[in-house]
Amino acid sequence: LAQPRNTDSFDYANYHTLSEIYSFQDMLVAENPNLVSKIVIGQSYEGRPLNLLKFSTGGSSRPAIWIDTGIHSREWVTQASGLWFAKKIVTDYGNDSALTTILNNMDIFLEIATNPDGYYFTHTSDRMWRKTRKPNPGYSCYGVDPNRNWDAGFGLPGASSYPCSETYHGPSAFSESEVKSIVDFVKSHGNIKAFISIHSYSQMLMYPYGYTTTPVKDQAELHALAEKAITDLASLYGTRYRYGSIINVIYQASGSTVDWTYEQGIKYSYTFELRDTGTYGFLLPAKQIIPTAEETWLALMALMDHTYKNPY
């Protein structure tokens, strides 16, 4: 099988295995040593590295933007979009004035394979796998929903206590190394100003909270920014998104990522659900990857630009 020799020849319009994602990350770092570096923030349950790409033009402890893709393993268009975002950042730096300004003042962290064990499992054993791959003692079923495993309303309604459920919250908050590694990184960094966690596929952009109907104190600003982001997104292909707090846009969801990040003081905490054609669900054809990534990028830029222009 032909292997891409560089990230220019990488096929962004197709889905890729975990090893191809790892290779892509290494290529991108090698090609852009002054802009991109790789940080291993931990290991998955099965011992795979949790790689973070750091896009930085220098400085120390700069304010930063976090983006993660694919914490739910079967949502392949999410990881595929993450690959496209990574390449987009390096190609636009120096060419796009807004991104260049952001990167001259802030760092961007991108975790493309947030749940590598699950992603590997979707390629090798079960394409429909969603959770982590840690065994549940006393049960034959595996895994925890890593988007219910955070210490924000952990265990409240909106997650399951049954280990075989797709929304099992796990035995305790941060029980999953894939989650704990992010928590440790975010806490040790201490200067992350925006946290964007990307999923697919129901065309939503949401902000906290998911576990309570209490509005966040920044509700008005987050709502207006979400509206701006989805308006920019729709300008490309007309894809319509819903937006609002998690509990208002979907039903109650407890222990979710951005509820925790918001409670850590990261004001611009958002979670995406990428496009839905109404035909394929998680099995979105590969020809949809680039349009999905392109339109999502416009929304990401709106979120990142606002974060840069509104320091706190």
């Binding site: 099988l1 890729h16 054993s125 079960d126 596929y201 099995l283």
Partner: protein, 93 residues
């Protein structure tokens, strides 16, 4: 390797609050071995559920008994997975 021959993905669009609560209850039902792809969010918003072949007929009957209309979003999950795999291998070549 797990395969999904005959699995279908059904799309249900709740028309009112009553239907919404009925569909919400489906998410908790274990006997049909459902895999909720897109959960309940509100009236007029679709809910997508993967159903294995051995419970498909009984699940459809159950939906009929509740007067819940549905459409088949994916006829055969494995057929799409096969296409996806072929496309990946072809692209890699």
């Amino acid at each position: 390797k797990e395969t999904f021959e005959g699995h279908q993905v059904l799309r249900i669009v709740p028309k009112n609050e009553l239907q919404l609560s009925l569909v919400k209850n489906l998410e908790e039902m274990m006997e049909f071995e459902l895999d909720v792809w897109m959960g309940v969010t509100g009236v007029s918003h679709p809910v997508d559920i993967r159903v294995p072949p051995h419970t498909l007929e009984s699940f459809k009957s159950y939906l009929d008994s509740l007067d819940l209309e549905y459409s088949t979003m994916i006829e055969d999950v494995q057929a799409i997975l096969d296409m996806e795999r072929e496309q990946m291998e072809s692209a890699a070549r």
